[in-house]
Amino acid sequence: MLPDSIMAFLNEAAEQSRTKVPDRDASLFLSGVLDSFSLVDLVTVIESEFKIRVDDEDLRPETFDTISRIEDFIARAAVAK
């Protein structure tokens, strides 16, 4: 499960794009929830929420393309922390 703050961000991004947050394995980009610039803001929210810095190797659109991938990243980040 994504934390409430991340889900709130995705819901707001979806609302602005007049769409809905898709299923956990569907692309947030293809569904129109995220674009290049809201992705920047999503990473900022994640870094702020978990007090981490996303490494350059993980700073790729693919890392945040679906809810399940975001969950995987957050789980890995928590272990690394």
Partner: protein
């Protein structure tokens, strides 16, 4: 010896290309271009105009701004990724075209959108080492001549405009005879070539097989630019923000102490994302991307020239220049307007 920017100039082609003209070629709408880039129009050179033609006008304008004659130039630094020729570089061409310029060293830097920062770092090193007293540096681009203007190429081709900007940099602290004096206090630069293929023009190039340019490469479009837009934007905002924070902190400042930010004009949405990340209000950020598009290596030069034109460089102001480009390479420069 300290290093001072004492003149700024610019040259922008007469031809205005509004989104509507480009949209028709690229198979998108004007609104799509503006909403995805913040760009409403850009300037493109005429067929008979070359990049050095723009650069010469900008350097002359900068010399006039500094109230310095061309004879005073000791060193020319020219930056472009859209040169007149593959060889020779653009800087010697500009040396030849500037009346009164002596037979001084003239070097090209192929550093894309970060041109102003490499220029400032090298000019500062030359001046502080005694290698030169006055350096003229410029960024100039005529990238419109190399754009893919077919449907499907909008992501990249909607962005670029042509133009040139130039600075006169001096170590003579008594040289203040122009309109302003901006002391270069620090320059931070970095690169990471592992991202080279995210923003690239492959041809002509020796990594393409037996020939650096072939008909097969042209058919494949390797002479056109390619951009992994999402990755570029993600890393650009990250690196620009980190460079801004690092250079201010290592000079005992915070971002709240910065009066004016002069960024490379990559994309209006990118500038907005950077401003959100650094909590910069719009009035602290110079922006001209809506009118001129992304002018590559010229853009931060033109933005600084704009700051001078708009009289934004008040005495004592801290000015932060930030840029990011292909390579990736990125950085920041911290400058201070000297008090009268």
């Amino acid at each position: 010896m300290s290093c001072h920017i004492i003149g700024a100039g610019a040259a922008l082609p007469e031809r205005v290309v509004p989104n509507a003209e480009l949209a028709a070629l690229l198979g998108v709408t004007s609104d799509w271009i503006e909403s995805n880039s913040g760009i409403r129009e850009r300037r493109w050179v005429a067929p008979e105009q070359s990049t050095s033609d723009l650069a010469v006008v900008a350097v002359r304008d900068a010399l006039s701004s500094a109230n310095v004659s061309a004879e005073k130039i000791d060193y020319l630094i020219g930056c472009t990724i859209s040169p007149d020729y593959q060889v020779p570089g653009i800087a010697p061409l500009v040396q030849h075209k500037i009346a009164g310029c002596r037979q001084v060293p003239a070097v090209d830097l192929r550093v894309g959108c970060v041109a102003i920062l490499y220029s400032l770092q090298l000019a500062r090193a030359l001046i502080e080492s005694g290698g030169a007293g006055t350096v003229a540096c410029f960024g100039a681009e005529a990238q419109s001549k190399g754009l893919d203007l077919s449907p499907g190429s909008a992501d990249l081709s909607m962005l670029f405009g042509d133009g040139a900007g130039a600075l006169i940099i001096s170590g003579d602290t008594n040289a203040k005879c122009g309109r302003f004096d901006l002391r270069v206090e620090d320059v931070l630069l970095a690169s990471d070539g592992s991202f080279a293929e995210d923003l690239i023009v492959r041809a002509p190039g020796t990594a393409n097989g037996a020939r650096w340019l072939s008909s097969e490469q042209l058919i494949a479009g390797l002479h056109y630019g390619y951009m992994n837009g999402r990755n570029v934007i993600l890393h650009a905002v990250r690196k620009l923000a980190e460079a801004a924070i690092e250079i201010t902190e290592r000079n005992g400042l915070g971002l709240a102490d910065i009066d004016l930010v002069v960024p490379h004009q990559a994309n209006g949405n990118l500038l907005a994302a950077l401003s959100r990340k650094l909590s910069l209000s719009p009035e602290r950020v110079i922006s001209n991307v809506g009118r001129f598009g992304n002018t590559g290596g010229a853009s931060a030069f033109i933005a600084l020239w704009q700051a001078v034109q708009e009289e934004r460089l008040r005495p004592g102001a801290a000015v932060l220049i930030v840029a990011f480009g292909a390579g990736f390479t990125w950085g920041a420069a911290l400058c201070r307007v000297t008090a009268d």
